[in-house]
């Protein structure tokens, strides 16, 4: 009897286990069913998507929602826009963050303290609160309604620089010192010693920032009014708002909205499937930092 009780203490009792399982099941349903519903509606015919029902299984499978999205909404253009500005921006960001992160690990670099505070302080300036000045400045620089504007605003973050610095500090500094004594150039030390060891750091910055740039709403909403330059979130907003307006002119059907949602999710799902360890690593670092 005593033995049994001791063994039991490693886990919950029977009824507690049942209750825990039930709570998790309910949470799972609340989280997963809406996403599943989006998938089912996106692959249903217009008729079945406009009828009321729970719609967690197909009663009339059809890809016409996707057809609508590409023919009528012309979602391919915003998709390419998002893909282009996100990819280019993230690649530049990874390179520049690696550069700046490398600077921050130099021992006895003159003005290093000032440089570090200069970078850290930018994390205290929230971009969303300087939005109006950002808009004015982009107007002066003729960056409104341009891909250049979408790429360059929010290009670098103090966070990505600190993340790279943290990875670089795990490389032994004496390794770099001895290479320096052997006459290796700074570029060689950086490219041949630091970068190869810090690949996980580069990947973490890449995927974290890919997600955040892909999802960016406020900046494009501020900079872009030309429909040809719309990114995916702006197009989604336009589709949804038409739907809730009462004017009734050319509103997007629900299967098309859900199709656009599934298309917007796709790259993020791919990143989650293939690179979740980097996302989790970056996320916990972000939480520790501030």
């Amino acid at each position: 009897m005593w033995m049994k009780k001791k063994a039991l203490a490693n886990e919950l009792t029977g009824p507690q286990k049942f209750f825990a399982g039930l709570v998790l099941l309910i949470i799972f349903i609340i989280m997963a069913v809406p996403m599943w519903n989006a998938f089912v509606v996106s692959t249903s015919s217009l008729l079945s998507s406009t009828q009321s029902g729970i719609k967690i299984w197909w009663d009339d499978f059809s890809l016409e929602g996707y057809g609508y999205v590409f023919k009528v909404t012309k979602l391919f253009r915003p998709f390419l826009n998002s893909f282009f500005v996100t990819t280019v921006g993230v690649i530049i960001q990874v390179i520049l963050s690696a550069f700046a992160g490398y600077v921050l690990i130099q021992k006895d670099l003159p003005f290093k303290g000032a440089i570090t505070s200069f970078v850290m302080l930018t994390m205290m300036i929230p971009g969303d609160l300087t939005l109006i000045s950002v808009y004015q400045m982009n107007k002066q620089l003729h960056l409104l309604n341009s891909y250049m504007g979408l790429i360059i605003n929010g290009l670098i973050s103090g966070f990505s620089i600190l993340l790279m610095r943290n990875y670089f500090t795990s490389v032994s500094y004496s390794l770099a010192e001895s290479a320096r004594i052997d006459g290796a150039s700074e570029l060689r030390i950086f490219a041949n010693i630091y970068l190869p060891i810090s690949k996980p750091g580069l990947a973490t910055v890449f995927f974290m920032e890919y997600v955040s740039k892909w999802n960016s709403i406020m900046l494009p909403a501020t900079l872009i009014t030309d429909q040809d330059k719309y990114t995916l979130p702006l197009m989604l907003k336009a589709m949804i708002m038409q739907d809730t307006s009462t004017s009734g002119t050319a509103y997007a059907p629900q299967n098309a909205i859900m199709a656009a949602i599934i298309i917007s999710m796709a790259p993020l799902l791919l990143i989650y499937i293939f690179a979740q360890q980097y996302l989790l690593a970056g996320m916990s670092l972000g939480a520790i930092k501030e």
Binding site: K5, K6, L8, A9, N10, E11, L12, T13, Q16, A20, I30, M31, P34, M35, A38, Q51, S52, K55, L96, F99, A100, Y102, V103, Q106, L109, T122, M124, I125, P126, L129, T130, L131, I132, S133, Y135, Q136, M137, I152, L155, I156, N215, I217, A221, P233, L234, K237, I240, D243, T244, Q254, I257, M258, S264, L268, Y272, L279, L280, M283, A287, E290
Partner: protein, 301 residues
């Protein structure tokens, strides 16, 4: 003598400074300059066709007296605090219960389903829930089954009575998996010997959760609370995507109002003054929360 030494060191690092140059230039132009310009303009009456003038604190005065801004402030706080409370409980529940699950497949299925909404943009999450809450959406479909013949579809998104609740629920739905992942990461680092010692002393598993697991992730809870406090006045994406004219009164928050005033209506002076106030308020809130939680103390040891 000393000056030449410093110069020598600077010369030695000239390549390093070159690497830093683009980042410094970027931050000066896209971070520091907009901040300075914003503060500068908040004291001015800015006219679109030029000819702006210094008007002292008038913009600030107008913002503080403006009932729209006061309402937006209370909307921000109500929705922000509600979302945080729900998301915190939700995330903590997921993390603690998942830790009790032995099956790897069940565990990763639940983790995936809870984490994916966190990765999605508000464009996606907003669009998803607007569709689900629409008259022909899933929720009304569910009500139809329960209510049978007496069913009348509810237009949830145009119902002011549900507006804040919807924002709080969808906010927590999107973020719960993030908190759960942070809590779970803290839980797995707890020393297993503590649990073993407790079970030898006869403590039940439930008691172990209350007295070992939860106290041991207190510092993560503090981080999460601080992050939430710093973001509470800065929610934009959700309201931008999900608000509409029939519920705007209940959910219009500070950043959305600033955006509308500054970007859409070109009231640059008042909008930058409001943004500066939000920046100050955010700093005060995060400072206060740090103190209340004794945040810095927990990292001293």
């Amino acid at each position: 003598m000393k000056a030449t030494k410093v110069y020598k060191r600077i010369k030695r690092y000239r390549f390093i400074y070159l690497m830093l140059l683009p980042v410094v230039a970027y931050f000066l132009v896209f971070s520091y300059y907009p901040l300075a310009l914003g503060i500068f303009n908040s004291f001015r009456q800015v006219k679109i066709l030029g000819g702006s003038k210094f008007i002292g604190l008038e913009n600030y005065h107008n913002i503080i007296k403006n009932p729209l801004y006061l309402r937006a402030l209370s909307n921000s706080i109500i929705v922000g605090a509600g979302t945080f409370a729900l998301q915190f409980l939700w995330g903590l529940t997921i993390a603690i219960l998942l830790n009790e699950i032995k099956s790897k497949i069940v565990k990763s299925a639940i983790q995936t389903a809870t984490f994916i909404p966190y990765l999605l943009s508000w464009a996606v999450v907003g669009g998803l829930w607007i569709t689900i809450l629409s008259p022909t959406g899933m929720i009304n479909g569910f009500l139809k089954i329960i209510q049978g013949d007496s069913f009348r579809p509810i237009v949830f998104m145009s119902e002011p009575a549900f507006a804040r609740e919807i924002m709080i629920f969808t906010g927590a739905w999107k973020g719960a998996g993030y908190y759960a992942a942070l809590f779970l990461a803290a839980i797995v680092t707890i020393d297993q010997n503590i649990y073993e010692a407790a079970s030898i002393d006869g403590a039940s598993r439930w008691k172990q959760i209350i007295h070992i697991t939860i106290p041991n992730i207190a510092s993560t809870m503090k981080v999460v609370a601080l992050l939430a406090a710093m973001g509470v006045l800065r929610n934009f994406d959700q309201i931008f995507m999900m608000a509409n004219s029939s519920i705007l009164d209940k959910v219009q928050n500070l950043l959305y109002l600033i955006y509308n005033d500054g970007i859409i209506q070109f009231k640059i002076g008042p909008a930058t003054a409001a943004a500066t106030l939000v920046l100050l308020a955010t700093m005060i809130i995060s400072f206060t929360v740090r103190r209340l939680l004794r945040y810095d103390d927990s990292y001293r040891d």
